[in-house]
């Protein structure tokens, strides 16, 4: 589409920019020895308006022949031919107008006077057309720059989304291999428990994959995923791992990005419970009110145990995802209080549509 005609907002400024041309043309025609001022203006403004539209036709040859990579001769020949043709049509239109205006009383001499101006007008028309060609090339290059910028921005967003999708679907290999090892151990000593663990693990994997594909899920669904994860870990850690929930029923339907809590619950086990000889309880809390949903994940940890690799990565991921979804409207605070670690998230309470 034409860069000026395609946008409503651009046509009026363009026509306004052409108005001075009408004045110049009036001046040209009203110079001493040529037309009277009134006659000149009556001819010049409609002709300028007509040219304003005719000049736009330069877009099409410009688009067909981009300056970049074009050979000079065909480029010049095409535009020169188009300029001569456009200018000829324009001058003929002007002649018609002059004859129409000659019907007005006292302007009978206008056609003859106009015909005397034809060579000057023809030259002016040719030049104006070439000016229009130049303008269109500038417009085309601006448009191309804007488009490539936009494409780049779109690619950045796409890459970001792909990265997030990968994050969401990510199941920590450490967890998977340890679970398999537990199943292997239980297979001979406690077959029913090994079976149970296979079912729980399958349940967790299926849920992760299904939820990870959605844009939003309810906090209730997310908590169900956390429970199935913790059920697997409870077999691995035995009595060392406990779970406590403090949930506000009203908030259960609130929508959040999927697998938002999962990395934090995994952290609570790996960097919390697993660091303690006697283990402890992971506490999950949901509070709802004032249009906001608050989520609390709390766990004990041993400040004197060595830091395990990968600590902090999950938190960074969650922060990024919160920022991508809510901008400044979400809050995440994480800190250690003595031997307890707390993560608090506050997001706008979005109800399902």
């Amino acid at each position: 589409m034409h860069p000026i005609l395609a946008h409503r907002g651009r046509l009026l400024p363009y026509l306004a920019a052409c108005a001075p041309l009408g004045l110049i043309l009036t001046g040209l025609l009203a110079r001493p020895g040529a037309l009277a001022l009134g006659e000149a203006a009556a001819l010049a403004f409609p002709m300028t308006l007509a040219f304003a539209f005719m000049g736009l036709s330069a877009w099409y040859p410009c688009r067909r022949l981009p300056v970049k990579g074009a050979r000079l001769l065909p480029l010049v020949a095409t535009h020169a031919a188009a300029a001569l043709l456009t200018s000829s049509v324009w001058v003929v239109l002007g002649a018609g107008l002059a004859r129409l205006l000659a019907l007005a009383p006292g302007w009978e001499a206008l056609p003859a006077d106009y015909d005397a101006e034809v060579p000057a007008l023809f030259a002016a028309g040719t030049l104006l057309y070439l000016l229009s060609v130049a303008m269109h090339y500038v417009l085309a290059s601006l448009e191309a720059a804007r488009e490539s910028e936009q494409r780049e921005a779109e690619l950045t967003i796409l890459a970001r989304e792909a990265e997030l999708a990968a994050l969401k679907a990510q199941i920590r290999p450490h967890f998977l291999f340890n679970s398999l090892n537990s199943i292997s151990a239980l297979a001979s000593s406690d077959p029913p428990r090994a079976q149970q663990m296979c079912v729980l693990l399958g349940d967790f994997l299926r849920k992760s994959l299904a939820l990870g594909e959605k844009a939003s899920i309810s906090i209730g669904e997310e908590l169900a995923l956390s429970r199935s994860y913790l059920a697997v870990e409870e077999i691995r850690f035995g009595a060392r791992l406990g779970v406590e929930e403090d949930l506000d029923e009203r908030g259960q339907e609130c929508q959040i990005p999927p697998l938002l809590l999962q990395p934090l619950v995994e952290n609570a086990v790996r960097h919390g419970i697993a660091t303690r000889v006697d283990g402890g309880k992971v506490r999950l809390g949901i509070a709802y009110g004032g249009g906001r949903l608050r989520i609390l994940i709390e766990n004990p940890f041993d400040p004197e145990s060595p830091v395990r690799p990968g600590s902090g990565r999950g938190l960074v991921n969650v922060r990024q995802r919160l920022a991508a979804r809510y901008g400044d409207n979400a809050m995440l605070a994480a800190k250690a209080l003595g031997d307890r670690y707390l993560v608090v998230i506050s997001v706008p309470a979005e109800m399902p549509a």
Binding site: A185, A274, E304, S305
Partner: protein, 244 residues
């Protein structure tokens, strides 16, 4: 031959015990669920082979390795740790990946017996250093203090002095001896916080109170606790550069 199993997860210890029972000539001396227990049990039970998990409460597998007698054949057990596995490959340390087969355990035991027969030893600090992701530094130093295990966070490690095959670690007015070279310890510590000020001395920059001239053209460092550390010409230059 005595074996010790060290893993904080009960099912993991169970399956290891089960597989080891199928290997002839072995006796499982005990099971430990954390790093402290492992070091104590190794001292009391004198196992020849130790199966050692990496992520555990109190002390991780690398720290336990540093505190074990060098003659013990250690087989690391891990679920997933790219850095550690690379380090094991580089330093020819044996390891098994969870979940493992009985055959894999039997093969690991056979190799351990071979290593014991040839009296091969591994350098614990070097393995720990190789397993650390690049650009990360030691956050604490572990050392045996009689039967106890002393953990020195690096922010409390004031200075280290090389003494023959040992390093003397100075922390909060006390000194602990550890069998390690000063070079390997210096390489594991953050160079922005610790400076090798002398061929046989390392100091934590924040523990240094001032520098005084000492004799002709040479200098000496005074630590916050008043003790003195010799500065070599190069060490003094290094300090000047870091202190700006």
């Amino acid at each position: 031959m005595g074996v010790l199993i060290v893993d904080d997860e009960e099912p993991a210890r169970m399956i290891l015990r089960e597989h080891l029972a199928k290997v002839g000539g072995l006796r499982v001396l005990g099971e430990c669920a954390n790093g402290f227990e492992a070091v104590r049990a190794a001292g009391e039970l004198s196992p020849e082979i130790v199966f050692l998990d990496i992520e555990m409460p109190k002390l991780n597998g690398f720290e336990v390795l540093e505190l074990l007698e060098p003659g013990i054949a250690v087989i690391f057990v891990t679920a997933y740790d790219e850095h550690a596995v690379r380090a094991f490959d580089v330093h020819a340390v044996d390891y098994v990946l969870k979940p493992f087969s009985p055959e894999r355990i039997a093969a690991a035991v056979a190799r351990a017996r071979e290593r014991l027969r040839r009296r091969e030893t591994v350098s614990a600090p070097e393995i720990a250093a190789a397993a650390r992701p690049e650009g990360t530094w030691l956050s604490r130093v572990v050392v045996r203090d009689g039967a106890r295990v002393q953990i020195i966070p690096v922010e409390k490690l004031d200075a280290v002095e090389a003494q023959d095959d040992y390093v003397a670690l100075k922390s909060e007015g006390r000194t602990f001896l550890k069998a390690q070279t000063l070079g390997s310890l210096a390489a594991a510590l953050d160079p922005k916080r610790f400076v090798r000020v002398h061929r046989s001395h390392l100091v934590r920059i924040d523990a240094l109170a001032r520098i005084e001239p000492f004799g002709r053209g040479s200098h000496i460092g005074i630590l916050n606790d008043g003790s003195r550390v010799p500065l070599s010409r190069e060490g003094y230059a290094r300090l000047r550069e870091l202190l700006g």
